[in-house]
């Protein structure tokens, strides 16, 4: 490795360490390639020459940090994103859920909530909503507030409706929202079994005895070591026979937890936990030992 490469990495490490020590957000184990690019964009927006200048600003000015935080995480989401995932959920997961008197779903990294409401609609149409307790978590307080409100721009409605139809929806998506001015407002009956909460997958602990964990397009932002921590966290949180749903390009294959799961849908990444194990330790022992 060249010296300049090492120096750049050092600058980046110090920046992430500063954020962690000052504000408690842990980006140290995020996937480096895209994080580097996001910080580069931030430098251009702030008209700064190097990461050290940004580090200085972040340490001494909380408002800068709050602005940056929005750009450090990616909040790309839509209702019924990857419609065929919901179809697959209907086929692979719902039949088992029907046999339970009640069940718990953890939606980790729920962003602004579109995918939570999608799942609630699906559960309603399957007649399962009243048996469900849904935990919706995200690291970012601002997006959680949006998720709680369930108000989305009206220009997204046609894409959402099309996704809903492709997912195998029974009615019309407009049955589940009220349009007002330039917004759609999700029906409050969808919210009654959802609990919204802050949760950082990098540092926080388990939600126990889940029957389903949904975590889609979140893990791609983490490096291998942090991904593995999250898979251990999920494994500790899932009951025997429970389900894990990932983004369609995320895989359990590269994790040490893989042997404890059966793949139900390799394309839309639905797994079932079929192995028994003791609780996995959640500390990480390679690049950062500060946990």
């Amino acid at each position: 490795m060249s010296d300049s490469h090492k120096d750049n990495e050092l600058e980046l490490d110090l920046f992430l360490e500063a954020i962690y020590r000052k504000y408690g957000y842990d980006f140290r184990s995020y996937s480096r390639a895209s994080l580097r690019r996001r910080i580069q964009n931030q430098l251009e927006r702030s008209k700064l020459d190097n990461v050290c200048e940004l580090t200085h600003l972040v340490i001494h000015d909380e408002s800068t940090f709050i602005k940056i935080l929005d750009h450090m995480t990616v909040n790309v989401t839509e209702m019924f994103r990857d419609p065929h995932f919901y179809k697959s959920f209907r086929e692979n997961v719902a039949p088992q859920l029907k046999s339970y008197p009640s069940f718990k779903i953890w939606h980790a990294g729920c962003s602004t909530g579109q995918e939570i409401y999608s799942m609630c609609i699906l559960l309603k149409e399957l007649g399962l909503y009243d048996k469900a307790q849904i935990y919706a978590t995200d690291i970012d307080h601002q997006v959680l507030e949006k998720a709680k409100k369930g108000i989305f721009p009206i220009d997204t409605a046609s894409l959402y409706s099309q996704n809903y139809r492709e997912s195998g929806g029974l009615y019309s998506l407009s049955e589940y929202y009220t349009a007002r001015y330039d917004s759609i407002i999700m029906d409050s009956s969808l919210k009654k079994n959802i609990i919204f909460a802050d949760h950082d997958l990098a540092t926080d602990q388990v939600f126990s005895e889940m029957q389903v964990i949904i975590c889609r397009n979140v893990l791609i932002y983490f490096n291998q070591s942090l991904q593995d921590r999250v898979f251990r966290l999920f494994s500790n949180s899932l009951d025997y026979g429970a389900y894990l749903c990932l983004g369609s390009k995320e895989s359990l294959r590269f994790s040490s937890c893989h042997p404890f799961y059966k793949t139900l849908d390799n394309k839309y990444k639905i797994y079932q936990k079929t192995g028994q194990h003791e609780a996995f330790p959640l500390n990480r022992n390679n690049e950062d030992s500060s946990e």
């Binding site: 060249s2 490469h5 996937s31 390639a33 895209s34 990616v74 791609i220 390009k249 995320e250 895989s251």
Partner: protein, 203 residues
């Protein structure tokens, strides 16, 4: 456009470890021409960004056609997929594909670059970051400027850079932009690129 004949390949014998290719309009035919002659034991893994619509079916069709035409194995990687010789990794539509570190890929939903996701620039920059001078970067036919900056970065890091001769490109915008920005080590007609790569990578 004058074709630049590469220097004698003996002079180029660095430790090449990875090939990255970027293309958009006209890419399927151009990729087929280059990739189909490469033998099963071709020594370097190949990463490709091909701009294409986000529709899932189109994507599967694309992989299927390339697989039928190639001796190497063509696949769309999952996030954190290990980079292995014998494989050609095609960026999934609607995701950026980046090199996470030597030997591993990462995908992302970050915002488009040059209106493109996947972006050639992001793949090339991240490949140069991790593989330094041991990358071969290639820009083929295409209708926008994506890839020009990325090729420049590969060159600045000491990697080997190559553009398709724009005269032989279905759309010449992309190779022209790359040539202007990066002044690549070689500019070759489409039909000559495969045999050149085989020579370049024979160690």
């Amino acid at each position: 456009m004058n074709v630049i004949i590469p220097k004698k390949t003996e002079e180029l014998k660095k430790q090449n470890e990875l090939i990255v290719i970027g293309t958009s309009w006209g890419g399927l035919d151009a990729l087929s021409t280059i990739l189909s002659p490469l033998p099963e034991d071709f020594p370097l893994p190949i990463l490709i960004v091909q701009h294409r619509p986000r529709n899932q079916l189109g994507s599967e069709f694309f992989i299927e056609i390339l697989n039928r035409r190639c001796q190497l194995n063509v696949l769309e990687p999952d996030d954190k997929e290990h980079i292995q010789t014998g494989n050609i990794y095609l960026s999934p539509s609607n995701y950026h594909m980046l090199v996470e570190h030597k030997g591993a890929l990462a995908l992302s939903n970050d915002e488009p670059v040059h209106y493109s996701r996947p972006s050639i620039d992001l793949l090339f920059e991240s490949a140069a970051e991790s593989y330094q001078q041991n990358v071969i970067g290639i820009i083929l036919t295409g209708a926008n400027q994506d890839g020009a900056e990325g090729l420049q970065v590969i060159k600045a890091m000491g990697g080997y850079t190559l553009a398709q001769d724009p005269v032989t490109a279905e759309v010449d915008t992309m190779p022209l932009a790359a040539i202007a920005a990066a002044k690549p080590d070689a500019i070759l007609p489409l039909k000559d690129i495969a045999s050149f790569l085989i020579k370049l990578c024979k160690n």
